[in-house]
């Protein structure tokens, strides 16, 4: 994929700016493999004390999914508490660049064809 810098025509720039942030070319940090976008250093500094960034990169999920994972690590795995601003940065970054995946052998039935679920779902709260 081409980087944003390679386009100079104003119309193209406007068109590209309308794309979701995650859709452009993404530079990754050679050290950790994390996408180099706003917040990546905060993620590196807070999320690689116990495990490498590989464990972050191979996972994906909604903001809610990532938040639940952070709570679990804080409750049981010795992860420290974040300041509110730090947590926002981390969750924004993870939800944007490591958001939910959809590719699968056979996707789940569409929500409209699903019965009422006795449990809440990730999508409801994410």
């Amino acid at each position: 994929m081409k980087s944003l810098n390679s386009f100079t025509m104003p119309t193209l720039v406007v068109a590209l700016l309308c794309l979701p942030l995650g859709a452009g070319a993404q530079e990754t940090d050679p050290g950790t493999g994390l996408v180099q976008a706003e917040g990546w250093e905060t993620v590196r500094n807070n999320c690689t004390a116990c495990h490498s960034a590989s464990l972050v990169i191979q996972n994906s999920g909604t903001r809610n999914h990532w938040e639940n994972l952070i709570r679990w690590m804080q409750d049981t795995q010795g992860l420290w508490e974040f300041q509110a601003e730090t947590e926002e940065t981390i969750l924004d970054y993870l939800a944007e660049y490591y958001g939910p995946k959809e590719d699968t052998r056979r996707p789940a039935l569409p929500r409209t064809l699903m019965p009422d679920n006795p449990y809440p779902t990730v999508a409801d709260s994410g």
């Binding site: 490498s52 590989s54 994972l69 795995q77």
Partner: protein, 443 residues
Amino acid sequence: MTRLPPDTKPRGIHELYAEDPVAADRKLWDREVDPVSRRGFLKRSSLLAMAAAVGGSIPFADRMPGGLIPAALAQSDEPFTLEGKEGLTVLNDRPINAETPAHLLDDDITPAKHMFVRNNGIPPEVESIDAETWELEIAGESCENPQTFTIADLKERFEHHTLQLQVECGGNGRSEYVPSASGNQWTTGAMACPTFTGVRLRDVLEACGIKDDAVYIGYYGADRHASGDPNKEPISRGVPMEKALEDESLIAWAMNEEDIPYLNGHPLRLVCGGWPGSVSGKWLKRIVIRDQKHDGDKMAAPSYSVPKHPVAPGSNIPNEDFVTIESMPVKSLVTFPKSGTDHALSENMTVRGHAWAGDLAVEEVHVSIDFGATWQKAELKAPPNRLAWQRWTTTVEFPEPGYYEVWARATDEEGHAQPMVVPGWNPKGYLNNACHRIAVQVA
């Protein structure tokens, strides 16, 4: 084969160091050096990671310059692999987790170099392991006479058994679940079936006396929690007494007639085949006989647990609605040929692999080359012993040139077959036994 996340492709250690030696230090070992001398290791965990990879301690580690490829690894142009391992895909370098591509599992008995690595925590330091002085303690509230054994004691006092046993991570196949489940995104390679030599767990427990109220055993190993917190256990799981007392449950000191590989639990491990690999504790130090279900780390839901009733994809399940996984489900792999192969139309193709079914035996294996429309029965061997995988082989004939997928489907002795698509979603992504498939281009 499923697509790998882009950052899990094997990369040569030279490639990494050539790009940026300091970054390679960080990527491989999370290493940072003293900012003034540019030598040494600021984090002990980084030193341990490098020591684990080179298979020994590094006495002058404080003098080792940053960005230096350890010479033990520099001899090789192979993609970065772990000490004693070849061809594995590293999913996570800290804690170390690595899986085996299907075609490297073709051997009847999985060689040590091709056995996957799944760590919850940090393995004990190599230099701290001395098989001569290693002790195993048997204790717990339902043990009549707690005792401690050296490995030599075990060898001397109890009958030896060698069995080929399946060890599969409960999360093998996790990568295919959507919504995705957190954890290492295993594809199909967290499975192995080597031989183990040791003594029966039953013989050792009975020698220490099992009280009538015993219901469960739990293990403790010498590995440490990933956070480095000495007050936390990385993992301490176990099995009900019924499984513990089976003929095939072993306390093993050897694998394939050699020392167990360091990353797979040297010098002593538990092996309870056919159940999630996490019940087969590595670097085994202590076994407790319990009067209740063991409550060690990763015993409680949602770890190694699935919803007690089927749930819709993406559901949030309260812990009380989970049950602990016991036997693994029926499954198979196509280990030959390697996916992506070209084949001549004029020739029939030999296809083979293994099939297994947790506590049960596999009854039949079928193969399809037309996306499951028709199936042909493969030849299936009996296992060499209970809880070992079974070899299947067949020959397929392609009717015309083109792209084919070879699918394999095993059926266990109770009639359960592998699903063609991913089975019931569960929050932690366990027990994906969907049929394995390989791709062939026929010309």
